[in-house]
């Protein structure tokens, strides 16, 4: 595969299995089954969505904030769960009534990464959200996940969300990617 000789594409059957997992995850999110969604993450997960800026072409590596800098999300499984618990308090006004979302995932690629037992998965997302009568948001970007297989199913051990906006066009991020 171009760019990184340590990455070897997984077998087709594994790729299909991973896609099924990601589509299932998206269906949980769009179906507002948030506890089941949080269960898809490992106990030690790091879920991160860095701030993105406008950098010149020659210093494009500075485009996304670094891990010690500012992010929109910088979560553990515990903090993701807390966000879900908030939604159940009846006072999560940004989600009362709840947003309607549709997570559309494409461009799924899956690689074995050297001797690492976790699978590196890339995907593109288009998350459409409407709220109330006419509020409409579109979030587009890519994700970089590290998937770990426990005895029977995939779990997300790491998720990086790279959004394709520098200034974001929504009142808030009360939904998940």
């Amino acid at each position: 595969m171009p760019g990184n000789s340590d990455l070897r594409p997984v077998a087709d059957a594994v790729l299909r299995d991973i896609e099924r997992f990601l589509f299932w995850e998206a269906r949980l999110l769009d179906g507002r089954r948030f506890h089941e969604w949080v269960d898809l993450f490992t106990e030690d997960v790091h879920y991160w969505m860095p701030v993105r800026g406008d950098s010149p072409a020659k210093t494009l590596e500075a485009e996304f904030a670094k891990e010690s800098e500012l992010a929109f999300f910088d979560e553990t499984k515990e903090t993701l769960l807390r966000r879900v618990l908030k939604l159940e308090t009846g006072m999560a006004w940004a989600e009362e009534p709840p947003s309607r979302t549709r997570h559309i995932l494409t461009n799924v690629e899956a690689y074995k990464n050297g001797s690492n037992s976790e699978i590196l998965v890339y995907s593109n997302f288009l998350v459409y959200r409407t709220r109330l009568e006419t509020k409409e948001d579109l979030f587009i970007g890519r994700r970089e996940d590290s998937l770990r297989k426990d005895s029977k199913s995939w779990k997300i051990a790491q998720r990086k969300v790279f959004i394709d906006q520098s200034v974001l066009f929504a009142d808030n991020l009360s939904i998940f990617f």
């Binding site: 500012l70 808030n172 991020l173």
Partner: protein, 429 residues
Amino acid sequence: MGAGANLSELVRPEEGQVSRLIFTDPEIYQWELERIFTRCWLYVAHESEIPHPGDYVTRIMGGDPAVVVRGKDGKIRVFLNACRHRGARVCRDDMGNAEQFRCPYHGWTYDNTGELIGIPAYKLAYPQGLDLSRLGLHAAPKVDTYHSLVFANWDAQAESLSDYLGGIKWYLDLLFGRTDSGVEVVGPPQRWEVETNWKLPAANFAGDAYHGLVTHGYRVELGGPPSSAHGHQVHTEKGHGVGLTLPAPGAPNEPYFSLPKELWPQFERHLTKEQLEVMRPLRNIHGTVFPNLSFLHPATKRAPEDPYLVFFTLRQWQPKGPDKIEIWSWCLVEKDAPESWKEASRIAYIQNFGMAGTTEQDDTETWADVVQTNSGPVARRLTFHYGMGLGSAEPVKGWPGPGVAYATAWIEANERAFYRRWLELVTRA
């Protein structure tokens, strides 16, 4: 100005009544851009964002794009981000370091002190010559700093920054002037657009602690302490306001926001005895420097059994229209705090505030709703009620700091002061 002819009738802070029209009317918005945003001191950067000569950030000053640059001479200058020739942006990215800015349109080149130093094919293009010294980048005539907060003013006749800030400086000292090294910015700011009017969040941060009870009521549902009504609200005649929230009587609290103990001797060196006494028992400081710079510094707990931890956010509500703002949200930490503390504070900020912050999500929801709901012909004839404490609360006698202080965190005095100042500026020709 049609509606503006009777602005004093529409906005009556002394009666606690503010017309809903001023939050949606496009004409009033244009008057604000002119009479407030070209005349007030506006926050543009933190010194820690542009520490070295050549460092720049691109920012917004009211209705205009600006470049904030530390020149080769070490001096910070602020320029309209537009070429003097025919107006293209001379700086097209967020931040960096440059000796020169070159316009992509015809190549006019400016030094990082703003001087026009080069024009391509000059002798051919301008055989008659040009006075380059008169064609430097359009500079904000006034730039000044208070505790590393850089402000600029488009108005050459404006009073000094020190006079403009006035009594609010005493309170800014509690946040920005309490240690040897001060605070630093963590990472680039979050930026996002919200469909609301800039005055709603600005006035909210100045004086609305009351909304914490219900807007952020989820916190109690998740085991956190209820929003406290105890403390003080203070405003100054320039429209600036702070809220100094205390925990409920009897509720446990660590001194100095549970900031690392190794910093406490520095507080004692930098702050007066009165400032220390005010700061020591606080749970939260929130406030706004008129017109659109706000700050929030709350001690929070993740879970009831966790220790208190403070996070610190600075934000600017950039006006983009009567019903649109771009929020710029910075995370600040004490430069001299231990790295592990800074990391925990950064995480606490991300959890609670910012675009995905569990607390802030509900604020933007409300502010957007208020503007959308009150844009119609009937709603805009009505007023918003800013009457809390009017006619009942008396200012504290012998309050140790400047400004007018009330002995409660729940009062709308700061918001009345904000609109009083607004009215004064918008009606001033």
